[in-house]
Symmetry: C2
Subunit: 216 residues, 2 copies
DNA sequence: TAGATTGTTAATCGATTAACAATC
DNA sequence: TAGATTGTTAATCGATTAACAATC
């Protein structure tokens, strides 16, 4: 029971490894060395080997890594071999975008339900999923053993809904609201703050241009 | 012209400072110390002072930081005092979600046009913005002096469209496609890989639960 | 066996935190 | 002036890269 925690930096690189290995698999590539992969991914081979060895020795000296095996193993590490019943709170464009993205289902993220407060949306059906009112939230979560929720509602409502989700047993929140949620320590939150992402882009654009103009 | 580059870690924290300062401003708070802010934001006061001093001395000993002044200055650093004409390629749910998010306009990101290949979408009007066919892309970019583009199209089409954008003069791409784009070094790309974000959430949920069950 | 490439240790680099003199 | 708090230097911590022995 050695509680070796993996650093956040490593974890955030795993999905990208997974994506590249998936592409190699589709191309029919059987094996790959850390060096080849490092060239494709524009990272160092050292980092790849170091990252993977946090989880075990997936490679073989003189051979490299078996693409299919490594792909599967990283999938397991990421929990993609399990099923994750998911609900979406907020059935606006963003919520619908998520509901319509079929690849999530392929990875085990099964959208069980959608919720909204807007009466005009309630009752609509998106990809076979009926939009419900938020009154039914707690009951639905318990009946369907849902642990994951995507929060695609305005920031004003988000903290209140998040608390209800947590009380109803949700253990993972995918938060798109522009606010930091306070949750108990056994609940995980992954933020997607789009406006912050856009501001970063803006910063980089501006500093690139300032540089070209010889400023600073 | 001392080419002091600011680290990515610092830049990625700036929008969050900006958000908190905006909230304080709305609450009518006039000044704040790095210590108070550090408690609210759950970071160290040292980090706040260190981060801000990359850009200049915005505070005053014995007083702290003037909220309004600091908010404005960080806004300038992020380029939010300028106007950024923006186009959206891909008028599906995700593209529409971005188009409908009014706050972007407040921050200087002006949506000039939307584009799609789907003939059923072309001609539709979203928040006063007409959806155009991608044939008009190059001409539109040049006529409207657009430098920024959000790419909300499937990964298969993304590299090709990205190349067209770059050739037409786009300097910043907000990429939602699940693919890494290759662009010249004077073009900046900010990725929003939603599936990778969801996988990170899944990893953290699983490792939290494994921990509780006494595994590893 | 010889060559290739991993797993892993050691060295380097960068980022965060602590401490405190400067100063409002 | 005394107290508060910054700006900034120094110390620590962690992450990345380099190097190489182990081994397929």
């Amino acid at each position: 029971m050695e509680n070796r925690t993996i650093s956040k930096a490593v974890i955030s690189r795993l999905p990208r490894y997974y994506r590249y290995l998936g592409e190699l698999l589709e191309l029919g590539v059987e094996r790959i060395s850390s060096n080849e992969l490092s060239i494709r991914m524009k990272v160092t081979a050292s980092q790849i080997r170091q990252d993977l060895n946090n989880f075990g020795g997936f490679g073989q000296q003189g051979y490299g890594y078996n693409v299919k095996y490594l792909y599967t193993e990283i999938g397991k590490i990421l929990g993609l071999d399990r099923q994750h019943p998911l609900i979406i709170i907020g059935a606006g464009n963003l919520g619908q975008a998520i509901a319509n993205y079929a690849n999530f289902e392929k990875r085990g993220f099964i959208i069980k339900g959608m919720f909204d407060i807007n009466p005009r949306l309630i009752g609509l059906v998106i990809r076979g999923i009926e939009i419900r009112g938020v009154d039914d939230l707690e009951q639905f979560i318990q009946e369907n053993h849902v642990q994951m929720a995507a929060l695609t509602i305005p920031k004003t409502k988000a903290p209140e809904i998040a608390e209800r989700l947590v009380n109803a047993g949700i253990k993972a929140i995918w938060n798109f609201a522009h606010v930091d949620l306070n949750v108990p320590e056994d609940v995980v939150v992954e933020n997607v703050h789009l406006s912050e992402s856009l501001m970063k882009l803006s910063y980089r654009l501006c500093s690139m241009q300032d540089e070209e103009n010889g400023k600073e």
